[in-house]
């Protein structure tokens, strides 16, 4: 498994076409998830990331497998961009032993250390100081790895954000703090909870660089993360990047997003990260229109197959409840 995961990661790192394909794959799996609930194949909740795929692949492309990533419950896309297979992700969502942690965690809890994905965080903001700690490891050991925290716009108002970034700044840690501003924290539009327009502006309060990035453009995301990571690797400390993006689905399974102003989705969809990146690759001659169609079809088939494999896979037994509690 681990070699497949690493190969998938390497593809995203080295090949923009693979980034495109991965975005398509992420979208395909996320689109299936709601249906799985309807079919009774999953219970509980889930947080999907349709619309935010460019952030996922851009970040993963800019990082090395030895870099550490602290991600949230909205983590399916990041996990797959980092290399996890649809089987690992969907298996976890469905609670099957093929899931990335054996099916005992569920949708919010993915992990694969072979590509640097720490256990994803279901507590808002918790990953921010944890990323500082992972960066501390790199600093103490003298490697040039970096640690990345991914968190939402809503998380920028919680104490852990403030404390984690301040700590990284004062210790000059090799960390990159990436806010995925998808415009909503749960059902609340950001303007109702956050008195400033750009989260990136908070960087000034910690004396570190802050930058607003177009999160719908995988190339721009990649470039911004790569340069913040390079800065961190060379000992110049942390940065705060804000990816302006949008989530197409509701906050979680039960949310149909009735709070959205009319036309908002449509406006964002104009700049759909997958469509626009595909068009760019076609324009650059890296893909043909035919490739685009072929990728859509073959990816859907692959994802369908993974979902079916999950449905047929075993659920963890009672003993699993008692495993990995006290070593």
């Amino acid at each position: 498994m681990s070699s497949e995961v690493l190969a998938r990661r390497e593809a995203v790192r080295s090949d923009r076409r693979a980034r495109y394909e991965r975005m398509v794959e992420i979208r395909a799996l996320e689109d299936k998830v709601r249906g799985l609930f309807a079919e009774g194949l999953v219970h509980g909740t889930t947080h999907t990331c349709q619309g935010q795929e460019a952030v996922a692949v851009g970040v993963a492309a800019a990082l090395r497998p030895s870099d550490a990533v602290c991600c949230t419950y909205r983590g399916h896309g990041h996990a797959m961009a980092l290399g996890l297979t649809p089987l690992q992700v969907c298996g976890e969502i469905m609670g099957r032993t093929v899931g990335s942690i054996g099916g005992v965690g569920g949708s919010m809890h993915l992990c694969d250390m072979s590509v640097g994905l720490l256990p994803t965080f279901a507590i808002v903001g918790a990953g921010v100081p944890v990323a500082a700690g992972a960066a501390l490891t790199a600093q103490v050991r003298g490697t040039d790895d970096v640690a990345v925290a991914l968190f939402g716009d809503g998380a920028a108002n919680i104490g852990a954000f403030h404390e984690g970034i301040n700590l990284a700044a004062i210790w000059n840690l090799p960390a990159v703090f990436i806010c995925e501003n998808n415009q909503y924290g749960e059902y609340s539009p950001i303007a109702t909870t956050t008195p400033i327009a750009n989260i990136a502006d908070r960087a000034g309060g910690y004396g570190i660089p802050g930058e607003v990035v177009d999160g719908q453009d995988a190339d721009l995301v990649f470039a911004a993360v790569e340069s913040a990571a390079a800065r961190a690797r060379s000992g110049d400390g942390p940065s705060l990047l804000e990816m302006k993006t949008y989530r197409y689905a509701g906050h979680s399974r039960s949310d149909t997003a009735p709070y959205r102003p009319e036309g908002e989705f449509e406006e964002w969809y104009q700049r759909d990260p997958i469509n626009s990146f595909g068009a760019r690759l076609v324009a650059e001659g890296l893909l043909t229109e035919g490739d685009i169609d072929e990728i859509a079809v073959s990816t859907a088939a692959r994802v369908d197959a993974a979902v079916e494999e999950c449905a047929a896979a075993a659920a963890p037994g009672v003993a699993s409840m008692f495993e990995n509690v006290l070593v």
Partner: protein, 339 residues
């Protein structure tokens, strides 16, 4: 009397208190416009407006602290912690500030705030969104803790909590939000804090429960073969109604606490230790505790149900206790349990 779901009963209780007292305000994450992730504040914003019903940023320490300050200066805030685990980022304000303010003001300041939180397993939310965590609050003098077990007492206890001059934590099993039941509404429906209820009575054993385990105990004793139980729904966990429990145990001679939390650190241990100290001579068998095991709440429907103490489990354990006079092994200690 009115028939409603538990989440409706909670919203009704808050609304009735807001009508009765302009100092009652409500805030929390998505409790206003969206009416609460569990719809426990349905209708409040529409009726009472944005001055009194507010959405907060995701900042539990911030808004819990704001509740402390508002309560100390005259309001009666009702705040919502969406999942009780989120108190882990805000506990200071509830336990180290609110609960101590009356003492630290020489009795001049009261902090009549309510911290409502959804608790418990059963809905597939995974191990950071499925716990009960009373243990974070028990042992905090100055704080009252309420566990609701259905629409009826959710209404009555919530109203009492809002009227109470102490900070009160109200724990709401989220698996019960959708349960329907008859509710006595109006001031007659208010249920005093500190008193247990006895939803079933019997002679052979006292089953002490609260929150989600009340229906477990009722199901177990309702179907029981050859024994009857006094089922005591604590309702208030701090201070708990020792008199009712002791009177019952003195009569039945046997005690089982039924808790949703892990064995270690669960509140049932407090009940047991008080009962053995006060009523040792009346005990005909060792008091036992039926709990979840000392593990994280697993994801997966079957696993999660297995984690929770079930009615069948209660029946089995009580049956064995009555038959042998000895404490039966926990399910996870039995041969073959883990295969």
């Amino acid at each position: 009397m009115a028939r409603m779901r538990m989440n409706q009963a909670i919203a009704a209780a808050i609304a009735d208190e807001m009508r009765a007292n302009p100092d009652v305000v409500v805030f929390g994450e998505d409790v206003a416009v969206a009416e609460g992730p569990f719809k426990t504040s349905a209708g409040l914003l529409a009726e009472f407006g944005p001055l009194r019903v507010r959405d907060t940023p995701i900042a539990e320490m911030g808004f819990m602290g704001a509740a402390v300050g508002a309560a100390a200066t005259g309001l009666r805030p009702v705040t919502e912690i969406m999942f009780v685990e989120f108190l882990g980022v805000a506990l200071d304000q509830l336990v180290t500030e609110a609960a101590k303010f009356n003492y630290l003001s020489g009795g001049t300041v009261t902090v009549p705030m309510v911290m409502r939180a959804s608790v418990g397993a059963g809905l597939g939310f995974g191990c950071q969104h499925s716990q009960v965590m009373e243990s974070w609050m028990v042992g905090s003098p100055g704080l009252k803790i309420v566990m609701v077990s259905g629409p009826h007492n959710a209404y009555g206890l919530t109203r009492a909590a809002i009227r109470d001059d102490n900070p009160v934590a109200v724990l709401e099993p989220r698996a019960l939000y959708a349960t329907r039941g008859e509710v006595t509404v109006g001031v007659e429906g208010i249920i005093p804090l500190g008193r247990a209820a006895r939803p079933a009575s019997g002679d052979d054993i006292t089953l002490v429960c609260g929150g989600s385990t009340v229906r477990t105990c009722l199901a177990a004793s309702g179907d029981a073969d050859g024994w009857t139980a006094d089922v005591i729904d604590l309702q208030t966990l701090q201070p708990w109604d020792a008199e009712t429990v002791l009177n019952s145990v003195r009569r039945t001679g046997r005690l089982a606490t039924v808790e949703e939390c892990p064995y270690s650190g669960g509140w049932g241990a407090d009940i047991v230790s008080t009962v053995v100290a006060e009523a040792f001579g009346d005990l005909q068998a060792p008091p036992i505790r039926l709990t979840a095991p000392d593990v994280h709440v697993p994801f997966g429907k079957e696993l999660e149900q297995r984690y929770l103490p079930s009615a069948e489990y209660v029946a089995t354990q009580v049956g064995e206790l009555l038959a042998t006079g000895e404490a039966p092994a926990h399910w996870w200690e039995r041969d073959g349990a883990l295969v």
